[in-house]
């Protein structure tokens, strides 16, 4: 059965390495923070100027002057630091953030990502996404494998205006975990529990590389 959002977040949480600095995008990526194992210590960066995002506040702790990049109220933690947007993106652009997890509307088989604009329909702006994808060493995309209308979001080439080129390293969808190979192509690594390779093939429009047995994801 395809994963729900929580499932995708849980699977991505397994990718998170101890002692790293991570930027989580809005939506599923933000949920990832809830599933990082206790023994894995990471520091979450919010591009609006906070390093060390704490949990959501208690009702009485809510502070309008302390929000994350999704405009949600948050808290600080011991060891947190605050800074300006220029310093925040200096941090991002300078390659100091180890991992970026973000959502996407489309990913191409060479790692291009589109997630900021649907011409004539949706104009919200790119926010920090273009800076993040142009700068991060390691980028994981969290998304549904297919659009609401059933079209594959893993394509040979993106059809929407792109956010960045050749930058996505890994994709976790409701159906599968895939690496984007440096030479191009989606390499299938894991299947969602109960999802067949055949289903993933059907849902993937770009070049899918399948080698040997494809194990099922292990989720707690």
């Amino acid at each position: 059965m395809p994963l729900d959002k929580i499932g995708i977040a849980k699977r991505i949480a397994q990718e998170v390495q101890d002692g790293t600095y991570i930027n989580l995008g809005i939506g599923i990526p933000t949920l990832v923070a809830n599933f990082i194992p206790e023994h894995i210590n990471v520091v979450l960066q919010s591009e609006n100027g906070l390093l060390g995002i704490g949990p959501f506040p208690e009702e009485e702790e809510v502070d309008a002057d302390l929000i994350n990049a999704g405009k949600q109220t948050v808290t600080t933690l011991p060891g947190s630091s605050l800074f300006s947007s220029a310093e925040s993106f200096a941090m991002i652009r300078g390659g100091h953030v180890d991992l970026t997890i973000l959502g996407a509307m489309e990913v191409s088989e060479n790692g291009d990502i589109a997630n900021w604009k649907i011409p004539g329909k949706m104009v919200k702006g790119m926010g920090g996404a273009m800076d993040l994808v142009a700068s991060a060493e390691n980028i994981i995309v969290a998304m549904q494998h297919r659009s609401r209308s059933g079209e594959s979001k893993l394509l040979k080439e993106c059809t929407l205006p792109i956010t960045g080129i050749r930058c996505v390293k890994k994709i976790v969808t409701d159906l599968a975990v895939l690496d984007v190979l440096p030479e191009g192509g989606f390499k299938l690594l894991e299947r969602a529990p109960g999802v067949s390779v055949e289903e993933i093939k059907e849902a993937t429009s770009g070049r899918l590389i399948i080698e040997g047995e494809i194990p099922e994801m292990k989720l707690n």
Binding site: G49, F56, A64, I67, K71, T73, F83, S84, A86, M130
Partner: protein, 232 residues
């Protein structure tokens, strides 16, 4: 010391003319100059170019100035919380320049720091790169981006002193410090205006040299866009 203290927002923005270019601090509704925005709406100044990361929401922040059609052009990175904005944009009534957030922040810093242009990787290979100079450094591709400056920069701080020194609170800092450096005239509204000498020199985020006018604001609403609390 030349007196930088003005009585209120009306006085601070009194000489902002039609068609001025403004920078307005804040990220979402966090750290926005609420008093000055209200005064700009009241004054009815028109044809403004507003440089601000976001455009407020329909009934607060810069959204208030969009409703009254005072804004000719927005220079922002993300405007997704504002239906009126999207309507004006799609209908062509509003000019919009969408800029990657880090590029926006750095262009404003550059404007204050006397750096007319710099190279950044953000947007390479995308439509943001159209018409821009592209250059390779160490095997990676970069775009040339130019500085941004404004006739008036309007920022919001937590504490300020009469010499114009500012301290921000939490993530309400965001775009405010860079904008303070990039205005020909910088106006700071603060929650608490203190005497010179009350702020620790080592805690000051924006040195007074950047601020030409300062006042203590009133009735801060500090609206929250996504009030999110711990699930019990």
């Amino acid at each position: 010391m030349i007196n930088k203290v003005v009585n209120n927002a009306d006085e601070a923005i009194a000489d902002i003319p039609d068609n001025a270019t403004l920078m307005l601090g804040g990220f979402g509704l966090c750290g926005i100059p609420e008093n000055c925005i209200a005064a700009l709406v009241k004054k009815g100044v028109k044809g403004l170019t507003c440089i601000s990361n976001n455009a407020g929401v329909d009934d607060f922040g810069i959204g208030l100035m969009l409703k009254t059609r005072q804004v000719k052009k927005m220079i922002s990175s993300y405007v997704g919380e504002n239906a009126e904005f999207e309507r004006q944009l799609l209908s062509g009534e509003l000019e919009v320049d969408l800029i990657p957030q880090g590029t926006l922040a750095e262009r404003i810093r550059a404007g204050g720091a006397g750096i007319p242009a710099f190279y950044t990787p953000a947007g390479f290979g995308t439509e943001v790169a159209e018409g821009k100079e592209v250059r390779e450094f160490n095997g990676k591709m970069y775009l040339l981006e130019s500085w941004l400056q404004a006739d008036f920069a309007i920022v919001k701080a937590w504490k300020g002193d009469k010499a114009g020194n500012l301290i921000f609170k939490g993530t309400a800092r965001n775009f405010n410090p860079m904008m303070a450096t990039a205005g020909k005239i910088t106006i700071a509204e603060v929650e608490e205006l203190v005497e010179v000498g009350e702020l620790d020199p080592n805690h000051i985020h924006t040195p007074g040299i950047f601020v030409q006018r300062i006042f203590q604001g009133v009735n801060y609403e500090k609206r929250i866009e996504q009030r999110t609390t711990k699930i019990k």
